[in-house]
């Protein structure tokens, strides 16, 4: 059999980015064989190493909180860390030397920053013509809003998703956690892989300019087209569907347990009425057709809700799926790690981190390859963990030169301005129900 390889074996990536979107892109590239070097500023911690995003291992910041943040290890798996100050000329010079020996640069500074440092793509491609660079910013490098700061949490509103999310009759609702970052991650990888394919064919590098804001419209064509068609907008209707009834979330037996259920055809409705032991509803003219059920939405929901309340979500899930009906419980983070399907597919990979973290499950990738062994190749790096080896091996710095760089804080083994740390107030979060449990035996579950 032909020998297959991971597509990024031998490729070096310099990752200058912070928080979620681009760090996650770079982490996913490392799963495909790339050597990814995360370049972090000694004086400005990646927010995912800090208090804002936490959580720290066992909710204990200890002596080195920046090496204990869970989220950091998920999105930065597989990388090496160089803690170096790019705002200083010496740091910029080392960076240029690294670019000469690298293939891809990823960054998410606001557009003026790289230009100010003389590290804009136009400069870097002079060093390495085949270089691919991706810049991910809130609004892209051009246009009147390009200098606005942004992060996923508030961008979600601006990009349009929030307007179409919310309980029926209620105001717009923010969803999830930094949703735009993940859209940007997947969309950025599209641009990046297209650029890689072109580079493999022609040897030419290029610059990929991602503006997260405009990705929102790409994922909500329905209201944009409806507006142009007849001037109307879809209304917020919680978990319901404009056409399919019932398609909703129902409370079940147990505390805070829910079942999502979608009926797509009249035949499925008939099946459901039998399961609910209300077969007479299948032929009831108020419910027998999709159009009728849309008119009697509340009555349909009431019948299904009453039935669901008397069963566990797991029993309903299995029973409905056995009859080909789309149904699923709402899983929490504990459930997900124990879910038999995700386990079967090895979706969470067990990664061995240095103590005290040890073996932890880390989210893998949303796709499987049949022939090639994509996998998380090493744990995320401790702060500045690879300073010496990167400077020595890749650009030939001597131990004396490395010491001098550390003495002048161009390179640092410790954050020089780590900011606040602290424990999360789990007691009051439990009281507010923003946490629903803290399992002290979580490692053995």
């Amino acid at each position: 059999m032909t020998k297959v390889t991971l597509p990024l074996t031998g490729i070096r990536v310099l990752d200058l980015s912070y928080v979620f979107a681009v760090p996650y892109m770079a982490g996913l590239l490392s799963d495909l064989g790339a050597e990814v070097i995360k370049i972090e500023a000694p004086h400005k911690l990646d927010q995912t190493r800090g208090r804002a995003f936490g959580p720290y291992l066992d909710n204990d910041p200890a002596q080195d909180p920046w090496n204990r943040s869970g989220i950091f290890y998920v999105v930065n798996r597989g990388k090496r860390s160089l803690a170096m100050d790019l705002s200083q000329p010496e740091g910029q010079e080392i960076f240029r030397a690294l670019v000469a020996k690298s293939d891809i640069v990823l960054e998410n500074f606001t557009p003026r920053v790289m230009r100010k440092w003389g590290l804009h793509y136009d400069e870097l491609k002079k060093i390495k013509p085949s270089l691919i660079m991706l810049s991910n910013t809130g609004y892209g490098s051009t246009g009147p809003w390009s200098s606005f700061p942004s992060q996923g949490t508030t961008l979600e509103a601006t990009m349009g998703i929030t307007f179409y999310t919310g309980y029926r009759g209620d105001k717009p609702w923010k969803v999830g956690q930094s949703y735009p970052d993940f859209i940007a991650c997947w969309a950025g990888l599209n641009g990046l892989w297209a650029a890689i394919a072109h580079m493999r064919k022609t040897g030419q590098g290029q610059w990929v300019d991602v503006g997260m804001y405009q990705l929102g419209v790409a994922l909500m064509p329905e209201p944009l087209l409806q507006k142009q068609l007849d001037g109307t907008e879809p209304i917020r209707m919680g978990n319901e569907h404009a056409e399919h009834v019932p398609s909703n979330l129902y409370q079940t037996k147990g505390t805070d347990q829910w079942l999502a259920l979608s009926i797509h055809t009249d035949d499925q409705w008939a099946t459901l009425t039998t399961l609910m032991q209300k077969a007479e509803l299948a032929s009831d003219p108020r419910f027998s057709t999709a159009a009728a059920r849309q008119l009697h939405r509340d009555a349909v929901n009431a019948v299904v809700a009453a039935w669901c309340l008397t069963h566990t979500p797991q029993a309903l899930f299995e029973q409905l799926q056995a009859h080909g009906i789309a149904a699923a419980p709402v899983l929490n983070s504990r459930d997900l790690l124990q879910d038999p399907h995700l386990k079967h597919r090895n979706f969470y990979e067990t990664v061995t981190h240095p103590e005290p973290i040890g073996e932890r499950p880390i989210i893998g990738r949303p796709y499987k390859l049949r022939f090639r062994d994509a996998h998380i190749k090493k744990p995320g790096p401790r702060f500045g963990e690879d300073n010496d080896s990167i400077l020595r091996e890749i650009i030939g710095k001597t131990p004396e030169q490395i010491s001098a760089l550390k003495d002048s804080n161009i390179v640092s083994d410790f954050p020089t301005n780590p900011g606040l740390s602290g424990t999360m107030d789990t007691e009051s979060m439990l009281k507010l129900k923003t946490l629903i449990a803290v399992d002290h035996d979580y490692r053995t579950k």
């Binding site: 597509p7 929030t162 999310t165 599209n190 297209a194 790409a218 944009l224 995700l342 803290v438």
Partner: protein, 391 residues
């Protein structure tokens, strides 16, 4: 700037799109946007079921009413072909032999039943990439389960942390699951194509929509994996700097801390010195008096217009968002300047609408919309002549 060929990065590739609905067709279209020649195979008579998805232009022929279909299928040519019929197998073989990537979204096992399983396709074309985009992937106990956008958001954990603690979990609006999976399937296809070309050995990419969503929970999962904490939904009284929409006289704003400007900049924006006081400016102090901070912020914006505050704050480098609807986005000055929309004319619906048409700007190989979405079976003669003559 150096001379730009202005051709897509995937020019010269052929993609065979056997998929239907949103996720698979969106992925195939994104490859077309990069320059690939995409042939869409649809079931005869009715075509891809996305041809029935809203919004619909009701006065057009039945299979041509969907504007959403138009969005998901430009840069493609259509051939109606019943894949179940043995008589069509040799034509499918010719199509596969002349393609680089096949995208499909049938229930796992269905293609095998028709003698068109991945092994057969790879036997016909050893360097082929087959990308399967399904609800739960090709393997595992849920592989044959039915799903909807709603049930996928439930089972992936997305809904558990969305909504308010004292109410039911809340899904993301519209059909987000399928677009997320489309983005993933597109880049994974290009990735696998790159690998297949290097090794001269193909690949089967198994994309699970469920896992695309579960992949977004990097924070939620690490709460459990590093701490044992199970997150719930949003507090009844939320930290006003966590993005919750706050009403103004016209529209809603969202606030976040940590932009380029210090927190005290809010004092300047609203002409309210309180924001300089430590009880508000220090994060741990502020967290102790959430209702008070929230009330202050609400008061500051109550008589303003959301977009005006957003622009003023963003110019001061504060992290702000403004809740925008389709109407706002269609008239947004920034999107206009970025040329985020393409105006596309379609004879079947007699429409000339603006569609979101670009994910990212590639300096050397820009994406493009070269042809409108196809009418069902529109390119039969052209495709058959082309495939036949090359065989």
């Amino acid at each position: 700037m150096e001379h730009s060929p202005s051709k897509g990065a995937l020019t010269g590739l052929r993609v065979l799109d056997l998929s239907h609905g949103i996720a698979g067709p969106f992925a195939a279209r994104l490859l077309g946007d990069h320059g690939a020649d995409v042939i869409k195979i649809e079931r005869p008579v009715t075509g891809d079921f996305a041809r029935t998805l809203a919004p619909l232009k009701r006065d057009a022929p039945t299979s041509e009413q969907s504007l959403l279909f138009q969005y998901l299928n430009w840069n493609k040519r259509s051939l109606a072909l019943d894949l179940r019929l043995a008589d069509n197998k040799s034509l499918v073989q010719k199509l596969v032999e002349q393609s680089d990537i096949v995208i499909e979204s049938f229930r796992p096992g269905r293609l095998d039943q028709w003698g068109l399983g991945v092994d057969q396709l790879l036997a016909w074309k050893p360097t082929l990439v087959v990308t399967s985009v399904t609800n739960f992937g090709q393997t595992g106990p849920y592989a044959q389960y039915a799903a909807s956008d709603l049930t996928l958001q439930a089972l992936s954990g997305i809904m558990q942390i969305s909504g308010q603690v004292d109410r039911e979990p809340l899904k993301h609006g519209l059909s987000q699951s399928f677009y997320c999976a489309g983005l993933t399937a597109a880049y994974a296809s290009i990735m696998a194509y790159t690998a297949a070309q290097a090794d001269q050995f193909g690949e089967h990419v198994d994309v699970s929509i469920h896992e695309c969503l579960a992949s977004e929970l990097v924070l939620n999962e690490s709460y459990y994996a590093f701490l044992g904490a199970v997150q719930g939904r949003r507090a009844v009284v939320q930290d006003p700097f966590a993005g919750e929409p706050i009403p103004t006289r016209k529209g809603y704003l969202a606030f976040q801390t940590g932009g380029g400007a210090p927190f005290e900049t809010l004092a300047e924006l609203f002409d309210r010195p309180e924001f300089r006081e430590k009880r508000f400016s220090s994060p741990p102090e502020r967290e102790k008096r959430v209702p008070e901070v929230k009330a202050l912020l609400e008061e500051c914006v109550a008589n303003r217009e959301a977009k005006e505050v957003f622009l003023a704050g963003a110019q001061k480098r504060l992290l702000l968002g403004v809740v925008q609807s389709a109407e706002d986005l269609l008239s947004c000055e920034h999107l206009q300047e970025r040329q985020a929309f393409a105006a596309i004319e379609h004879p079947a619906t007699a429409t000339h609408y603006r569609f979101p048409a670009e994910l990212a700007k590639l300096s050397l190989t820009p994406t493009s919309v070269r042809r409108r979405s196809p009418i069902l079976d529109e390119h039969r003669d052209e495709i058959l002549a082309q495939i036949g003559s090359c065989a």
